[in-house]
Symmetry: C2
Subunit: 301 residues, 2 copies
């Protein structure tokens, strides 16, 4: 299936790589770009990521098969509201946001009766860089894309989104929006919060310079995700507030147990926790390697 017209709202790393991969696969005839930044649009045009710069929304959406929202999640509702009046029955919209319950709520509000045309998604991929110049053909090759389809979605519309992502080399997974947000609160959003908290904690100590002097590779890896965009992670934290609070509370309870073991000099208790963690992580890494699954993802995984 070749898509006649794809609209990319946000022509940076995520949107640009989607367009590049579709073109590379011969899965699209023309790509129209939308972006708040005119410079990004011109750059995406010059790089051949998009074929034209969208101006009038009616014209942009006219005859579009697929729209990908790849702008910051906080803009989702405004973009969908701007599109809603011009959204034709034949167009399917999907997105690339790191949280899903809030995106679904925004879509219901902005699209109202047309929400069935919105198929929420989350590609688990990325790089440390951003903007149109960061976009590459194979960003999604072998990576997971989680679709959190709505009850209202027509099977054929979900299928259109799946086919497009498969053309980029991605592997499709399905979760409900709530499952998605719980899963990513645990394995992505909480670790980000914890890494930011540790670096901030150390940076605020009077002898921070001395401490950083002796921080080595273990610290560097542990805190790598604290190099991510603070604005983006503020938005993700708030968008997934409930699930993140649940995970944070479970973690605080876990730390409280470990603190008591440490204070009591309970070596066998500590070793039980450390050993269980080491075994679980080893099994996970082994499973990944066995599956020859992709091993890299992004700051916003």
């Amino acid at each position: 299936m070749v898509l006649n017209k794809v609209v990319i709202a946000g022509v940076g790393l995520i949107g640009g790589s989607f367009a590049r991969a579709l073109k590379q696969a011969g899965a699209v005839r023309t790509v129209v770009g939308l972006d708040r930044a005119q410079a990004s649009l011109q750059r995406a045009l010059a790089l051949g990521i998009i074929d034209s710069v969208g101006a009038d929304m009616a014209q942009v959406l006219d005859g579009a098969d697929l729209v990908l929202l790849a702008a910051p999640v906080a803009q989702t509702e405004a973009i969908l509201a701007a599109m809603a009046p011009y959204l034709q029955p034949g167009t399917v919209i999907t997105d690339a946001g790191s949280t899903k319950s809030d995106v679904v709520a925004a879509a219901r509000k902005a699209l109202a009766g047309k929400v069935a045309q919105f198929v929420p998604g989350h590609p688990i991929a990325g790089r440390e860089t951003n903007g149109p110049d960061a976009a590459i053909d194979d960003l999604y090759l072998g990576k997971k894309v989680v679709l959190t389809a709505l009850a209202e979605n027509a099977a054929a519309d979900v299928e259109r989104v799946e086919v497009a992502w498969r053309a980029t080399g991605a592997i499709i997974h399905r979760l409900s929006p709530e499952e998605h947000d719980k899963v990513f609160a645990a394995v992505s959003h909480l670790p980000h919060l914890l890494a930011y908290a540790l670096v901030d904690d150390i940076a605020n100590k009077p002898h921070a310079d001395l401490l950083f002097q002796y921080a080595a590779s273990g610290f560097r890896d542990f805190t790598r995700i604290a190099g991510s965009s603070p604005e983006m992670w503020r938005d993700i934290s708030l968008a997934n507030q409930a699930a993140l609070l649940t995970e944070l509370d479970a973690y605080l309870a876990q730390l409280t147990v470990l603190r008591a073991q440490l204070a009591a000099g309970d070596g066998s208790g500590l070793e039980r926790v450390y050993g269980n963690a080491q075994r679980a992580r080893h099994q996970w890494i082994t499973a990944i390697e066995t599956a020859e699954a992709p091993q890299s993802a992004d700051k916003a995984d």
Copy 2:
């Protein structure tokens, strides 16, 4: 200065690499190995890491210029107690333990009046592998070695340890044992505890398999140190109990603040913490890169 005779107690990665580097630099004439595992001693001998296997302690220590303890920290007191009766005035002992206050206490107990001959140290280096076969010539090249000299140490004895480590390519730093333990509680021991805690927390959830399925590179890096030896980190946690509790409590206080910000939907509060962390980490990474300092260390950094 060429050392005539060096004794390595523990012929694995740390001790073996020390011996290899000294030999490579022509800084030692003969190396004697001690180890609980006969197989390790024979392997170290076959690999040329040591020149002879130590048997009788009086003979091992006779005429030794330098002894490096590179066995698990929990064995420090027993090894020093076994050496004490045969320790000649011309011999200097150092160690490679990840904690220092406990090692100093063990040395004072085991060596008593001879404690002036013990110069505590901690090389900030390592690899994921262990045993004599893991030992390499350049493990310490460009790496930091922290010496935490005692008030009793003669300047010439500290100098002998420094010269030996410099011959391996290491850069010498000096801290007090207490400073050392506070610093490493913050930048190494606490992150290990936090990483173990997160993986154990997730592994114990009923839907752990689903969660691990979506864990990506951010999670992998954050938890890499949870792949370290549980026994070793149990010992380090207990050996540095007081400093680690202080750091853990500071971190729990920090998480409590973040939890309140999250629960209140305080986006600017979260962004302040995240942003401060991102800036501090960026400055640290930039400083490391500017200094062209070594960028790798071990599981026990």
